[in-house]
Amino acid sequence: MAILIFAESTNGKLKKASLESISYGARIAKMLGTEATALVCGEASAEELAKAGTFGAQKVLHASQMPSNFDPQLASTLVLKAVEKTGAKTIIFSHDYAGRSVAPRISAMLQAGLVSGAVSLPDLSAGFSVKKNVFSGKAIAEYVIHTDVKIISLLPNSVPTEQTNTVASIETFNDATSEYVSGLNITKKAIDNSGGILLTEAELVVSAGRGMKGPENWNIVEELANTLGAATACSRPVSDIGWRPHHEHVGQTGIAIRPNLYIAIGISGAIQHLAGVNGSKVIVVINKDSEAPFFKAADYGVVGDAMDVIPKLTEAFRKFKLQNA
């Protein structure tokens, strides 16, 4: 019955998506009347590990000796060892790079049904079913997992976390790391030192497209994002012509995000772009063309020229921040 949650600590901090997974797994454990164990990979202080308890885990297995460059093969071996140790019947991942690399591997090795990118807690009223987005956010499917062992990867920012006052027991768990020889040689080529907010974890995102007319105009977009404490993103044409880096491209072929607030500036709202952002809770569209299709998907719209509207919006946010400081 037990629940195992795969969690990552980077630069000494538990990732936001991992805390969501821990809370999610702990809530399932409560539903099933069992225990939740968080397997935390990467360096973390005792104080940081205690957070797993705050988010509901009873136990922490700490794989402190994981290399800083995430190795999916090593992580898979570690998860299998932890499954063996805890007797877990439900395994939770976050649907991020780690989840995408490791969860399918574990699923195939254990012949355990996997639902990837889940957006709800499971429904246990008839079997075990869980919802996920399909058709790039255009529909939701409720999947039944037929197997005894069940694996779920949770879409980040889709299920709210719950804080508890659980005090988790902590055990060092390096069973896999000592004997494992990786077949992968992993190095970092470019490290993003901008200190910016990670796009996939950002709650607020400011995104801009061709309506900005040129890369030299992005300073006002960045100023808006900085004022708001938001991450920056862009549309596909803008990354294709090199105005913005590829990793900022959100949409069908870029990355999919689901922040609380998505502000789209000078982006027409092609269906391929919407596929990457339609999970956002609130969408604000700023476009000078009142016929832009994006307005149909927006909660709030401003018809106006980006160069004129953005500074005004930045100023309004600044005022709001001062008043609410």
């Binding site: 399918p104 591997r105 699923s107 012949q111 990837s116 790039s136 529909a139 909660d299 709030y300 004129d308």
Partner: protein
Amino acid sequence: MKILVCISQVPDTTTKISFVDNDTRFNEDKVQYIVNPYDEWYALVRALELKETLGGNVTIITVGTSAVDAVIRKALAIGADDAVRIDMDPSDAYSVAKSIADYATGKGYDIILAGKETIDYNGSEVPGMIAALLNLPFIALGSKLDIEGNSAVVEVELDGGIEVIKTTLPAVISAAKGMAEARIPNMRGIMAARTKNIEVIPGTASALVGVKKFTLPNAKSAVKLIDPDNMDQLVELLHSEAKVI
């Protein structure tokens, strides 16, 4: 270089999604099908580029009934040498991956490529499962792929920058944007595709998960338009009405 490229048939991006049979099945009526863009634009084209520089053979493999032959011909027209169709309804990722892995066993593929996910069921599960079943290394979300001797060098764009991952071959790699540029099939390719071989074999596995019910997201209410000269109002609405700041 012997390369196997896994492709999937998906509804065209602009398809209006609806369901039949009490919302348990996707409504295929009037749906235009395409090759999953990640499979076609990145995985298949990169496989063809590698074949062009290193020599070898590119085989495509897909799971589906004869209804998917049209997209197989499209992939053959782009330049794949031959195709395998596993004659089975692709009901979940595991049954697809297991059937493909069973086919690939002992055939000596150097690389198995697939798109990072399909745009219909958005699982990103099949390539990782194939790797596990064949006991091969798996690298997800590759945005660049090069061959150096008996190794693959793959770049992966992650939040904190770019990772370069080197693995010995054979290996399974999933392709993301950047690995190649889409190719449009020419008339010669389309003609040649007509006579290329599609081997049809039975599936070998059953599903571990299944869809119980589909639903459509709640319709968005109409957009609230704000006067561009009144951004204070927008900020106020985001704070007190939408509660996102």
